[in-house]
Subunit: 405 residues, 2 copies
């Protein structure tokens, strides 16, 4: 029988009533003839409570004990979900990470999945027994519970779907799909039926917080078809899949933004081989996540180096660069922490030129000045004054014809 | 190094502050040179909350999922206790039942321990790593978590102490020891320094709810020295041990009572072989726990059969006996549900006659009528009118010289 993985996040299993609603959705797929593996998170708020207890108990806590305590949250929901399914007449049993087993690395608290042995689970499927799996956890090489880090339940679900050869991995969450942009900024934002993995990755890392980036990467690598849909409404969601499944490729599929960006420019840095490494080395050591990088080389042997980072990393970035002033010998450091990043994303760009031009024109028509530009194969990003952010998103959404019909 | 098992119940680990207090007690024993295995219950109230969720989710619940959900409570405290110990500088790690492993029968929800393999734990002790063990649970033959039933943490602790060859098993609880009687009834009740296993068993089943009966039986069988002491005060507790350790054996060591007893008499039952089985068979089927049984045989081929049970089982007992009236052909059924049971217990009785007489005299002196008498090697029990219960306890406590000095 075809297999299906269904994942429910914390708000979808927040209490017994919601667990029942989720179980009904599972039952429907069971009745459609799927062997279902349900992956569950802890009840909303539970993980934070458990983490709080760990932190209040020990200042420098042992990550193995952290994992033992925190993984209990999913254990509870897995048992309750199995019971709810049984109550509806669907034979099911719970599986903890160590029972399957889901083998992970030994990096407790931030482990990575190494291997999922689905032999036993497959046998149970043949006996008509559906599976409820505690997300977010596995067993480390030391025989102890290892958690995958926050948001790891999405990754559990995708990895399990790959291991089971599932037809699809449905991620139930509190949004009902992936939109062309944030509906809070542009009310005509439209839900996408399908989106390619690459597009989803660009949108996820740009702030459309629907799916954990790692889980999308994993899905892309193993070609797992991911569906994002709502736990609370009965609506079709958005399918994240390979390009080959998307017949009509839009040139632009989404407009993303990142509000709290800062732009830092080192003015007149004497240019020499290795200067970029000399700048970004100290920033990396200081834990600054550099996003966009632009370099302009002048005729005078001097270069201006501009990069962006999150506003709350500016202080660290500034300190690191001031400490490196003697070796870098830049003339000035200019910080603008009142910018936002806007990106247009679409796999159709690969075969269509002129997207950047169309973007710049749309912004110019609104009188919005562009401060930095970077491009990739399927994305064009710009930095603009933060006060124009909403206006820019709306203008681009319209310019690329993304509105709901 | 000598080994010690220390068990903390739910009220002793009810919150982070109490876990710290408990950890301090453990640290003290570590500093005295013991290899310590701490057995913990779930935080007070947590197990009931989890059971409530299971019952609200499924009417006839799967005991395996019940176990999965409920065992999470101890998992949390085991991790937190290990962290608290580490924070105090005592190297420790948590162990779940499946990690040790503690192998149990497959009777989920009421499993019995079959075997505890302490090989791994012993190796860790040699590395200076103390153990924190989730009580109340093990792993069944099906590879799934199995709980031992309510109060099972005491049993876990005793079984572990036996397997580890521990010098002692300390049970920390919310009372500070075993008393000669209930201090709420007799304020001069005295804490016993030592009590024999057999005495403790009689007192436990009679309502001195300090230790789970099963754990005392297990301790007796494996000769594990048990100490009951308070989590909240620094006082010596009561040692439950073999008779050979008790030098000065009191004739009577305790006065126990059971308030809500009922006495049921079947009058003029035609006596014939098998009549007792004909009466108590239907009662057992109805789930009535019969306690005392007294039979008087008359000269007329008729017998009066009297027994006692808890008052809340009277309705069931009455219905069962009425249904069996045709075969039993008793003349009348007399129910007195206003009685209480009083017992005096002491291993010294074996070598001293006259205890029963002394008991009857003391009660007679207070004008208390005795309705039923039963005796065992180390116990004499009577049923009396409930309204005299407190008076009887006080009179017997005095008559046998049990008062605090």
């Amino acid at each position: 029988m075809p297999r299906l993985v269904m994942k429910f996040g914390g708000t979808s299993v927040a209490d017994l009533a919601r667990i029942r609603v989720a179980a009904e959705k599972v039952k429907r797929e069971v009745d459609r003839g799927y062997d279902v593996a349900v992956v569950v998170s802890a009840m909303a708020g539970k993980t934070n409570e458990l983490i709080g207890w760990v932190r209040d108990t020990a200042h420098l806590y042992d990550a193995r004990e952290y994992d033992t305590v925190v993984a209990s949250g999913e254990q509870v929901t897995s048992g309750l979900m199995a019971l709810a399914l049984q109550e509806m007449g669907a034979a099911a049993r719970s599986w903890q990470g160590w029972q399957i087993p889901i083998r992970t690395t030994g990096a407790h608290g931030a482990a990575r999945i190494l291997e999922i042995d689905t032999t036993e689970m497959g046998k149970r499927f043949e006996q008509g027994l559906h599976a409820v799996v505690s997300g977010f956890q596995g067993i480390g090489p030391d025989g102890r519970i290892a958690t995958l880090g926050r948001g790891g339940s999405d990754t559990s679900a995708v990895a399990l779907a790959a291991a089971l050869g599932a037809e699809r991995c449905d991620i139930y969450t509190d949004v009902d799909g992936v939109y062309t942009t944030d509906p809070r900024i542009e009310r005509r934002a439209r839900k996408l039926d399908k989106i390619a993995y690459e597009e989803m990755l660009e949108l996820a890392s740009l702030g459309a917080k629907v799916l954990q980036t790692r889980s999308v990467e994993l899905a892309m690598r193993h070609r797992v078809r991911l569906q994002v849909l709502s736990s609370f409404e009965d609506l079709p969601g958005t399918l994240v899949c390979g390009e080959e499944e998307i017949v009509e490729k839009n040139i632009v599929n989404g407009v993303a933004y990142q509000r709290d960006e800062a732009k830092i420019t080192l003015v007149k840095v004497p240019d020499r081989p290795g200067v970029a490494a000399a700048i970004f080395g100290p920033l990396a050591e200081a834990g600054v996540n550099v996003d966009m990088i632009v370099q302009n080389i002048g005729a005078d042997g001097m270069t201006d180096m501009t990069f962006s980072c999150a506003t709350d990393e500016v202080a660290r970035a500034r300190a690191a660069l001031e400490a490196a002033h003697e070796s870098l010998r830049y003339a000035d450091m200019v910080v603008d922490d009142e910018v936002a990043k806007i990106s247009v994303v679409g796999i159709g760009m690969r075969s269509h030129s002129g997207v950047a031009l169309q973007m710049f024109s749309a912004l110019a028509a609104e009188g919005i000045n562009i401060k930095v530009i970077t491009t990739s194969e399927i994305k064009v990003s710009v930095l603009i004054d933060r006060k124009y952010m909403e206006l820019a998103v709306q203008a681009l959404h319209k310019a690329f014809g993304l509105e709901a019909a």
